[in-house]
């Protein structure tokens, strides 16, 4: 059989990149302000935290699971880190404890799923409520203001057009990519999403694989929470609202399969930027806010069309 280049397939496969490029071009044409360093910097700054959360979501989705509690973990952790800073704790301790809380939140999700065998959708829907409740309880429903100039830097410094937050996003992306593609743990994880039983037969502790995916997600959410607490200069229960849907959409736009096993870091970054640009571009175009909703839906459809059409039912 001769190999011919299948243009249509190639196009469909790369549709996410094409879409991103088109969106960037449209933005640039519409507004001469688009390619300013401030605007580019904004784009990265605004999407860094949700982008990091989306990377965690990717790890979970690669196992064929889903994590609906990511937004709740983000808001809970903004509250926790802010409370600790407010209480005057040193930054490393405040951050450290917050990250541990994130790990624990992910651990709870993972245990419910692996040990109690509750389906991921419902388990994380329930913990979404729990983590939100914990955040409310700790903050007594208010925003938590802290005073810490050094901590504020994390969310605000930029090197020319590259904000520190974007650098952190990038570094995490590289690490996650390395783990997924080049380490045993990563391969086990991707394999798990492809065929859990096969991975189990290979002598891998599949529960541990699945559990660790949720822990990674929780941990990355806590990083997102720390960054948001710094960016917003406070902890708040409203941060992270709806991030689960943005994160999932980013992952799927990035070409991952929601049944697991397929997907990569590069795609997720593109997906995050596409999701981030949707609002940006429509505001530039001064689209009426009601139409924005409709167009947002349509862009999501275009973005996933091709990028993640349903996995062909394999003949197995």
């Amino acid at each position: 059989m001769k190999k011919t280049i299948d243009w249509k397939k190639l196009l469909v496969k790369n549709s996410k990149y094409i879409l991103l490029v088109v969106m960037v071009i449209v933005s640039a044409l519409v507004s001469d302000k688009f390619f300013t360093s401030t605007n580019i910097s904004n784009l990265f700054k605004q999407n860094a935290a949700v982008g990091i959360v989306a990377l965690g979501e990717l790890v979970v989705i690669l196992t064929g699971g889903i994590d609906l509690s990511v937004g709740a973990i983000v808001s809970m952790t903004t509250v926790i880190v802010s409370l600790m800073l407010k209480a005057g704790m040193p930054i490393p301790i405040a951050i450290g404890v917050t990250l541990i809380v994130g790990l624990l939140a992910g651990f709870v999700n993972g245990i419910l799923i692996t040990r109690f065998k509750i389906i991921p959708f419902i388990a994380t829907l329930a913990t979404l409520n729990v983590f939100n409740g914990v955040g409310l309880l700790l903050s007594t429903g208010r925003q938590v203001f802290y005073k810490n100039e050094t901590f504020l830097k994390i969310g605000s410094i930029s090197y020319w057009f590259l904000p520190l937050m974007a650098v952190i996003w990038l570094v995490i992306a590289i690490i996650v990519n390395h783990i997924l593609e080049r380490t045993k743990a990563g391969r086990h994880l991707k394999g798990f999403g492809g065929n859990k039983e096969a991975v189990r037969l290979s002598g891998v502790n599949v529960n541990r694989v699945e559990l660790s995916a949720y822990i990674v997600s929780g941990f990355l959410c806590a990083i997102g929470g720390v960054l948001m607490a710094s960016r917003l200069t406070l902890g708040s229960n409203s941060v992270g609202n709806g991030w689960e849907l943005t994160a999932i959409a980013s992952v799927v736009i990035g070409g991952a399969s929601m049944t697991g096993g397929v997907g990569g870091v590069g795609g997720v970054i593109v997906g995050t930027l596409v999701m981030g640009l949707i609002g940006n571009i429509m505001n530039l175009l001064k689209v009426s806010i009601y139409w924005q909703q409709i167009i947002k839906g349509i862009i999501i459809l275009i973005a996933v069309y091709g990028s993640s059409v349903r996995k062909k039912e394999s003949s197995k």
Binding site: K184, R187, K190, G191, R200, G203, G260
Partner: protein, 495 residues
């Protein structure tokens, strides 16, 4: 030869079923033990307890005289046990190479996956096993079932194991690969590996096995220490519990009118296929894997797009656009992969049997529970489907019994023409015998059958005529009398 493996008093219960009852098994190193028995006898269950896939309820396992605790697959691997399971157990989203090395990926600096090395080693491994035509970088989801089975074999023997278990490896392997597999087994044997070989093919058992253990209804019937001390019929008698002299019924020769005429059928996978099928005829299709036999059936059944050609059914043009057209025209299709497109695994035996023929169960627009139960009971009885009840979910049935459920669901609508794609795959001798009888009855009653099979004896013995396929084309036709295995194989290999 010293004792390698000793399983004692293995018991496994499922709700409503005792799958294994105090079963013993002894294996020496350098020995090939054939584990035989009817469908649902407990063969797979027994070896699954050994591989750590499931946990036994009672019993003990010793390897080289040492008792071992096998709690999970890892314990089994550590004890030197490797297996090819009855069901697909590769990761479809990963490459062949990665599947081969999944349990211990080659690492650079002890941490980083070394893809280059992995692919090279995979190529080498596949080559050394005679599977050199497989590309290690291909995704498993893109290769055929047969090739996937070769990967599974390669994966299992990559490290020379102490004990190698093969659960019906030949069910999806083409004939020539079975030979290759036997070569490999003999080599391993010489290295002192103990092999447990499960198969429903008596000829294979007698060709490769040294000893035989027979299971029936979850209990051990007999250990046969020397394979030469018994013949096929004795063995079948142990398995079935009664004498079974003649497996194949005589070919029914009272052929009627032409019912189906195919002229120049071409799809994306087959070219210019022409043949005729008569009433009361069994038309066999032989060929290697990938020769396109399945594709002919799919095209006839409205599943694959017909690019050109003409089909005439009962004298009228027939161009199926969907499966509904095919069914209404009186076709039935027993497909080659019952899990993929044969059964709704989580649904009951009753509902699976009634699924295609729902129209026959309807009374005043509503599905009649009574009719549905009656139909299911009838087929469970007629086909001797071993199940605790018609409410049982088919996923809990043994492979052979699952296959019978697929058959039942098609027989229920009494199709005029039945496409039989590997319809006896994984079925035990007795069940096969019963199905052959059934086919005989069907043709007697004027039904026609297209029988695709990779088991040459089966196609040869059952068919009035045998069509041979090679790379998507019909290359030869044999009459029942004139066919020999050698001649068919020659044509099928394109010689």
């Amino acid at each position: 030869m010293k004792s390698l493996l000793s399983m004692k008093g293995i018991t496994k219960r499922y709700p409503g079923v005792v799958a294994l009852n105090q079963v013993d098994l002894e294996l020496k190193s350098g020995e090939v033990l054939a584990l035989v028995g009817e469908n649902g006898a407990g063969k797979s269950t027994l070896i699954k307890t050994l591989c750590g896939v499931i946990r036994k309820d009672e019993g003990s396992i010793s390897i080289e005289g040492q008792e071992v605790q096998i709690q999970g697959p890892l314990d089994a691997q550590k004890a030197g046990i490797r297996a090819v399971q009855q069901h697909f157990s590769l990761i479809p989203t990963m490459s062949v190479a990665e599947n081969l090395f999944f349990s211990d990926l080659p690492l650079k600096k002890g941490r980083i996956l070394d893809r280059k090395k992995m692919n090279e080693e995979a190529k080498e491994l596949l080559g050394s096993l005679g599977f050199g035509d497989l590309d290690p970088t291909q995704l498993v989801s893109d290769i055929s079932v047969a090739n996937a089975q070769r990967v599974e074999v390669a994966k299992a023997i990559r490290f020379t194991p102490k004990i190698l278990i093969l659960d019906e490896p030949s069910a999806v392997l083409p004939e020539n690969d079975v030979e290759t597999l036997f070569e490999i087994i003999r080599k391993l044997k010489a290295d002192g590996v103990g092999v447990i070989y499960i198969s429903h093919h008596m000829d294979e058992v007698f060709e490769i096995a040294d000893t035989i253990t027979v299971l029936k209804d979850g209990e051990k019937v007999i250990d046969i220490d020397d394979v030469n001390s018994v013949n096929q019929f004795d063995l079948v008698q142990y398995m079935v519990g009664r004498e079974l002299k003649q497996i194949y019924p005589p070919v029914y020769t009272d052929i009627g009118e032409t019912i189906l005429k195919v002229e120049g059928l071409t799809t994306s996978r087959v070219k210019n296929i022409s043949f005729e099928l008569h009433e009361g005829e069994v038309l066999g299709f032989a060929g290697l894997v990938g020769s396109g036999r399945t594709e002919i059936c799919r095209a006839l059944f409205g599943l694959d797009k017909i690019l050109s050609g003409k089909i005439t059914l009962r004298g009228k043009p027939y161009l199926p656009k969907c499966t509904k057209d095919a069914i209404q025209a009186g076709l039935g299709f027993v497909t080659e992969d019952r899990h993929y497109d044969g059964l709704i695994l989580d649904d009951s035996v009753e509902r699976n049997i009634g699924f295609v023929g729902l129209n026959k169960l309807i009374r005043r627009t509503v599905i009649s529970k009574k009719k549905s139960r009656e139909a299911a009971d009838r087929f469970v009885g007629d086909l001797k489907i071993a199940t605790p009840g018609i409410e049982q979910e088919v996923v809990n049935l043994s492979g052979g019994n699952q296959q019978k459920v697929v058959l039942a669901k098609w027989l229920f609508i009494e199709p005029k023409i039945i496409l039989f794609d590997e319809g006896t795959r994984g079925i035990d001798v007795n069940a096969k015998h019963e199905i052959y009888q059934l086919i005989h009855q069907l043709v007697e009653n004027g039904h026609s059958i297209i029988m695709v099979s990779s088991e040459l004896p089966e196609v040869m013995q059952m068919s009035n005529r045998i069509m041979v396929m090679y790379e998507g084309e019909l290359v030869s036709e044999f009459a029942h009398e004139g066919a020999t295995e050698e001649a068919i194989m020659e044509k099928a290999s394109g010689i």
